[in-house]
Amino acid sequence: MTAITDRQKLAYANAQAADGRVNVEIETDEGMTLNMGPQHPATHGTLRIVAKLDGEQVISCEPIMGYMHRGYEKLVEVRTYPQINTLVNRIDWLGSFANEVPFILASEKLMDIEAPPRAQWIRTVLFEMSRLANVSLFLGDMALQLGALTPAFFAFRDREHVLNQIEAATGGRFHPNFDRIGGLKDDLPKGWIADTKKAMQKMRTFCDEIEDLIMGNEIFEARCRGVGVIPGEIAQLYGMTGSNLRASGVDWDLRRDQPVGLAWNEVDWKVWTHPDGDSFARYWVRLQETREATKIIDQLLDGLPAGPVMAKVPRIIKVPAGEAWVSTENPLGEMGYYVVSKGDLGPFRVKIRSASFNNIHIVPWVMRGVYVPDVITILASLYFILGDIDR
């Protein structure tokens, strides 16, 4: 026999106990507890769902998170404003530029600075491009969760065009760190607009392909229709935002309803809603929004105003004391920063209101009485980024 020391046994027992702690909390006499994650393929990241099952039916479930908690709200307290900028674009890493914008806007609000129009427009363009980079992956990923491999590869293939453009402009594919208090780090390089328009064309082709390949698929509809229905009112009370809220029939888009100075109001676009509130509606709304984003970008690029991209800003940024809240319609939903400054080089406190955290909050409510495969469908359709939950 293999010799196992007492120490090893103890370590094992401890590990088991730590793991089981959560299970015990919701385990009762009957039913089976199924522990999904933190290493489960459907939780793309390290979300953990502890579900109590009756057969394949979920009686109750509890998401456990924190496996990727990085303590952003603590970290920002020891950093200066430019340093935070590079930190926050790691919150939702698929649409990272969009994370920087509300933070910068909140800081600008406190400093009473406004970025020049050209910077605002480029910000909006990059914001929408990060939406494309983020949501296009959802379009493939949800199909992947439902068992169709191919759309995921299509998504990666065509997202590349967008990422390449983001890289060409900002230098970073994933973490642009391009937004600055008072404007942008740099202007666009020559030829970028033409290339971006080509990329937008490719994204539209991608949307058509996805529509043919997966959204029109009868099996896909059978899997998604009527699964995970969230009424609009419940969604609001749980703080659900973004496409999830709009898929529940609530016509609320911060880009239109709470303008923060970016250029959305300058172009012609449409907020898509769907009355059903089920997984299919969420997929549908996101697909429409991807198309809409390409249109927004095209229009913005056509009308890009000339001028500088940076306002006059002191070299050492000290933000006057005060409190400011700015939120924008990020790819995942409402992303907001409540910045409390005391006139220092860094903020005193930053409350980061991330979208996925509140979007996932509804999971215990919506996942009662669904089947195990539906758990996957609902999780995929709610669409979260772990960094956005755990922060």
């Binding site: 924190g66 303590g71 609001q236 609320w252 409190e323 409350k351």
Partner: protein
């Protein structure tokens, strides 16, 4: 250092926070409000009036920025009530977030001090922000009325001797995780919350990380590389040949 009761169980939220090294002083009586122009935002003035009408004296502070924000601070006992007012009377159906704040100035700064310097004087004066405050901890939350497109930020003081306020989850179920997070990060209790366990941190974690007196270990284990380390000229200022790196050399 932070309070660490060592028992491994999540501390009772109602437990008075006595283990503080720095006993929070009773806050300075009233924070001087900056002279501001009178608000002219009808919508937000109306909302404030509606809250005041429902709660009376419980509204202890407020601030309106025209077209931008409305902050209302309420008395601690009225915290649960204000949620009901917001949801049912003001029709703020959308819950945005709830969190806490610790107004104690950080004793650590940004960890950018040379170990050879004199330690900086650490202020313990508590200066609260918008809409005032009397205590070290505050809880604040934001709700939105999607029809009128207006959000309200509610603030409440958390009494220093009893770190707890009422829960919001019966009015806004979305407050559940937010309250759990605030609880684990600040040690603020939420009366009436049925499941106030840790959200992010492991079960046995001790201390409340977002409190200002909780050190950030990652910045403590390593000296700041920004300390100027330029050797002076050997013949300059008669410094000895051993030339211990001097801090003043480059500054």
């Amino acid at each position: 250092m932070s309070s660490a009761d060592g028992s491994g169980v999540p501390p009772d939220p109602a437990e008075p926070d006595t283990a503080e090294a720095v006993e929070p002083e009773p806050a300075p009586p009233v924070v001087e409000p900056e002279p501001e122009p009178e608000p002219t935002d009808e919508l937000r003035i109306g909302l404030l009036a509606a809250v005041t009408e429902s709660l009376g004296d419980a509204v202890v502070g407020s601030r309106i920025v025209d077209g931008d924000s409305l902050t209302i601070r309420v008395a601690t006992p009225a915290w649960a009530e204000v949620a009901k007012v917001a949801r049912h009377k003001l029709h703020c159906g959308f819950f945005s977030f709830l969190s806490g704040i610790d107004w104690l100035p950080s004793p650590f700064g940004r960890y950018e001090d040379s170990p050879m310097d004199e330690p900086r004087p650490v202020s313990t004066d508590i200066v609260t922000g918008v809409a005032g405050g009397d205590t070290r901890f505050q809880v604040f939350a934001r709700v939105v009325d999607l029809d009128r497109k207006v959000g309200i930020i509610f603030k409440v003081d958390v009494p220093d001797d009893d770190l707890a306020v009422d829960t919001w989850i019966h009015t806004y179920p979305g407050a559940n995780w937010n309250e759990r997070e605030t609880h684990e990060m600040y040690g603020i209790g939420f009366r009436g919350h049925p499941h106030l366990i840790k959200l992010y941190l492991p079960g046995g974690f001790e201390g409340y990380p977002l409190r200002k007196d909780f050190p950030l270990l990652a910045r403590q284990v390593k000296p700041w590389p920004g300390i100027v380390d330029v050797e002076p000229m050997p013949d300059e200022a008669g410094s000895d040949e051993a030339a211990a790196p001097s801090e003043e050399a480059a500054t």
